[in-house]
């Protein structure tokens, strides 16, 4: 097991980058299909949904603060059922890594490296991910502290440069078909990235100063969707709704609009740094969750022995997962929210309810303390 620890601030930064991850690349386009020019309102609504999911995950994580969901599901449901649930989470995280890898390979392969094979792009992207996971969560946390200011700086500079291109008329009329399209648009964003935050259930165990975790996490849970609100406002107001619906990687097309006479242009690859770094964090945390889940399920001596095998499993999976970008878009927009509903909402709620019932039962039978989460650390905790 990884001996490294992260602080609440590092955890919050990690989650900010994780939530933004690929959502900023694919979601403005997907949601614009449903919500039209009111997609910014969908993003505003998603702040509250994100906070709701954040509350659920914090509630469950802090009931068993020294364990991951793989460990306490076995404690709550019993060895067999808990192991099966843990295995479902392992599969979920593997599939998540494969999807993220497929999206970023597709993005890089279609806009930056058009003649490179997707497998090689995927492999090259995975090398720093694998190295980061090998070095541990502490290093990933510190690396993200370096990446975030760079990403924020590029984001602010590019936002300022796009101000002259803003056409407020593109945002009008507001709610031409009522509020319903915006609410419908929420469906896609609940799946990706809101419910992906379930990875928190694997990470809280590694936080040192847990007292501040909730506060920082809620700030992050509001800040990340708020960034998506800004992105949505920019994409619609600069590119217009037609272009936003047509362009699969709309933030990249947005960056193409940055032009100061003929002196400063073609900076889209530079702006792409933001989305590559957020995706790097997302894929690294998901991959880390895969290896930790494998260690706890299969009782391995070190998570490091699982890294290379999982690398060579997720690479072909990223190729196998979809045939073409249209299939991927349909999947992320319509199928994924239902797919993620089980591990990201239903199972955590069930664990919370069953855990509470068990505690109540044990308390009522007069066995005080046994039903409570044990104060001693789990065998695998440092």
């Amino acid at each position: 097991m990884d001996k490294a620890k992260i602080t609440s601030a590092q955890f919050a930064i990690l989650m900010y980058m994780y939530i933004l991850g690929e959502a900023a690349i694919v979601q403005p386009h997907t949601i614009a299909n449903i919500a039209g020019s009111d997609e910014w309102f969908t993003m505003i609504l998603s702040i509250f949904v994100q906070l709701g999911f954040g509350w659920l995950y914090m509630k469950l994580s802090f009931k068993y603060p020294d364990e991951t969901i793989i460990e306490y599901s076995q404690r709550i449901l019993g060895k067999g059922a808990g192991w099966v649930l843990g295995f479902i989470y392992l599969l979920f995280f593997i599939i998540l890594v494969a999807y993220i890898l497929r999206v970023i390979s597709g993005f890089l392969g279609s806009v930056i490296l058009p003649r490179s094979p997707l497998d090689i792009i995927g492999l090259v992207f995975m090398i720093p991910v694998v190295y980061g996971v090998f070095l541990g969560l502490g290093v990933i946390g510190r690396a993200t502290e370096i990446l975030l200011p760079i990403a924020v700086f590029v984001f602010i500079v590019s936002s300022i440069m796009l101000v002259p291109k803003i056409d407020v008329d593109n945002l009008l009329p507001v709610f031409p078909d009522g509020i319903m399209p915006s609410i419908k648009g929420l469906y896609s964003i609940i799946g990706f990235p809101t419910m992906d935050v379930v990875v928190v259930l694997m990470l809280v165990r590694f936080i040192v100063d847990k007292k501040k975790t909730r506060k920082y996490f809620y700030i992050t849970s509001a800040a990340a969707p708020f960034t998506l609100v800004i992105i949505a406002l920019y994409t619609i107001s600069v590119l217009g709704i037609e272009e936003t619906i047509r362009a699969p990687y709309v933030v990249y097309d947005l960056a193409k609009e940055i032009r100061i006479e003929r002196i400063f242009e073609r900076v889209e690859a530079l702006v792409g740094i933001i989305w590559i770094s957020t995706t790097f964090v997302k894929i690294t945390l998901s991959f880390y969750a895969v290896t930790i889940a494998a260690v706890q399920l299969f009782k391995l001596t070190s998570y490091k022995y699982a890294i290379i095998p999982f690398l060579f499993l997720t690479l072909p999976m990223s190729k196998w997962i979809v045939n073409n970008p249209a299939e991927l878009e349909y999947y992320l927009g319509y199928v994924y929210p239902i797919f993620a509903f089980f591990p990201s909402f239903l199972f955590p709620v069930l664990l919370l309810v069953i855990g509470a019932l068990k505690n109540k039962k044990q308390k009522s039978s007069g066995e005080e303390g046994r039903g409570q989460p044990e104060k001693t650390k789990s065998p695998s905790a440092e």
Binding site: D119, A306, I338
Partner: protein, 83 residues
């Protein structure tokens, strides 16, 4: 095509090196699990390399969840250009 062969060979080589290390250090549980995961990955690579007629994972999930997501998708697409 050639890139796939390169990846399969590198997977096998790293598998052999890591496998030898784990066996020499008596970590049999780690050896078995790592070998099984790697084998699953290589088999999947080979199936894709030879264009085996396997449905994509998205198709499989799509087929499994169709009764659940289809009504929602239909409701979402009502009133849109795709609907």
């Amino acid at each position: 095509m050639s890139s796939w062969i390169g990846i399969v060979i590198s997977a096998l080589l790293t598998g052999i090196i890591q496998g030898n290390f784990l066996r020499r250090n008596g970590k049999s549980q780690d050896f078995i699990v790592a070998t099984l995961i790697l084998a699953a990955g290589v088999v999947l690579y080979l199936l894709l390399l030879f264009d085996a007629p396997i449905p994509t994972l998205t198709h499989v999930i799509d087929w499994m969840l169709e009764p659940l997501y289809k009504p929602v998708a239909k409701w979402l697409m009502e009133g849109t250009e795709n609907g």
